[in-house]
């Protein structure tokens, strides 16, 4: 049996790949026969790896940390300006369902229609503690697909929160649902040219508005301007392929 000191020196040499062929084979057969030794080597190795990562200066790690810090700050500043109360995962879920449905439909018909791509959305604008009655009413009506009523309430909210992009965006959707294309598109155009998180969503909805009017050329043009990093990019490409 080797003593503790010898054991750790052996571990170290093994990890540094400094053992002779014969010594290595001997050590490995010892390991194979001894579960405790295996476990100890495992911890020894994990600690060595950890110290390497932790003590050695890793400029990449620092660079990543800097990037994340600035992204966090951006996200929090955006929140403060109250532009966003956006829940993208809801779109993602809706999108995946609709894409499935869409693919199914496309296999049977050649011309895409608004309904293939339209995603009935539920929105959640009201946060805990919000007491704005109009906002509550707007959300309720929108989710109940009573777009006339939602529209009336969105307008009331916008009286006090003129620059609220989120409300404008959903107002646009309500208008589109009501086939008020010009008004809807005017809103989508403004939002898509702005810098909010709704930018690409608005561009997508604008394109859908064209689709609903069967103006395929205009729809195509709008879709082509959606950049590859936008979350609606895949949907846009899918629709483009069908046009």
């Amino acid at each position: 049996m080797m003593n503790e000191e010898e054991k750790y020196e052996l571990f170290d040499s093994y990890l540094q790949k400094e053992l002779s062929e014969q010594d290595r084979l001997n050590f490995e057969s010892q390991l194979a026969a001894d579960a405790n030794l295996r476990e100890e080597l495992e911890v020894f190795t994990a600690i060595t790896g950890h110290l390497e990562g932790k003590l050695a200066i890793d400029p990449q790690r620092q660079a990543l940390l800097d990037s994340l810090t600035s992204l966090s700050q951006q996200a929090q500043e955006q929140k403060e300006t109250k532009v966003i109360r956006f829940k993208p995962w809801k779109f993602a879920v809706a999108a995946s369902i609709v894409l499935l449905a869409g693919v199914f439909v496309f296999n049977q018909f050649s011309n895409p229609s608004y309904n293939d791509f339209y995603e009935p959305q539920t929105i959640s604008l009201v946060e805990r503690g919000d007491t704005d009655e109009n906002l509550i009413a707007a959300e309720k009506a929108f989710n109940a697909k009573d777009y006339e009523e939602a529209l009336r309430n969105f307008d009331k909210v916008l009286v006090t929160e003129e620059g609220n992009t989120e409300i404008q965006f959903y107002k646009g959707i309500a208008l589109l649902e009501l086939d008020k294309f010009q008004e809807a598109e005017a809103l989508f155009e403004v939002i898509s040219k702005g810098n909010s998180i709704f930018k690409h969503q608005a561009q997508w909805q604008w394109a859908l508005s064209k689709l609903k009017q069967k103006d395929y050329e205009a729809c195509k043009k709008l879709l082509q301007d959606i950049p590859a990093d936008a979350e609606v990019y895949e949907k846009a490409q899918k629709l483009l392929r069908k046009l």
Partner: protein, 194 residues
Amino acid sequence: MGDAGLHLDQKYIVALLKNDSLLLNEIYQKFVPKVVNYIKKNSGDEARAHDVVQDVLMTIYDQAKTKDLKLTCPFDSYFFLLCKRKWLNELKKTSNKGVTINEEIVSVSEDEQAQADATFVFSEKQQLFDAMFERLGDKCKELLKHSFTLKSMEEVAKKLEVSYAYARKKKSLCIGKLTQLVQTSEAYQLLKTL
């Protein structure tokens, strides 16, 4: 098995390793708001939520860097599970009162849970290693710091004015000592059962 089981979302792991700003931004647009929302609903605020997000992303980076993390499930649920767990642990630490958790029932696949568990164990181990490192004697700490920052053990020997053989031997003994501290800790015994 090669890359056969790899999920497409592995691109986000690679993005962390490469500091790819486009994809990092996508993580913040697509996945972070859900976490922030969850933490805000559960006694947290925006700033603390972002701390959790950052810690978890750095842990994923560390694991990917040292353990070659291979994602076999969607990043979304993996990331969310990790943030949620981290937040619940923090709540437990800071509040002695019982906390009510506002939970939306989401189904989690076995694979998602297993991947999140593996990263969780990894980060717990890291913390344990750090805590035990602090318990080492000053001589060991100094030697280990040099061993992992200087280019070679020859340089370490020179710096500490000892022989190369002694530096090497001491290094393995110090890591051995740390191994013992870790293995005999309660936390390690607990982690082993996970």
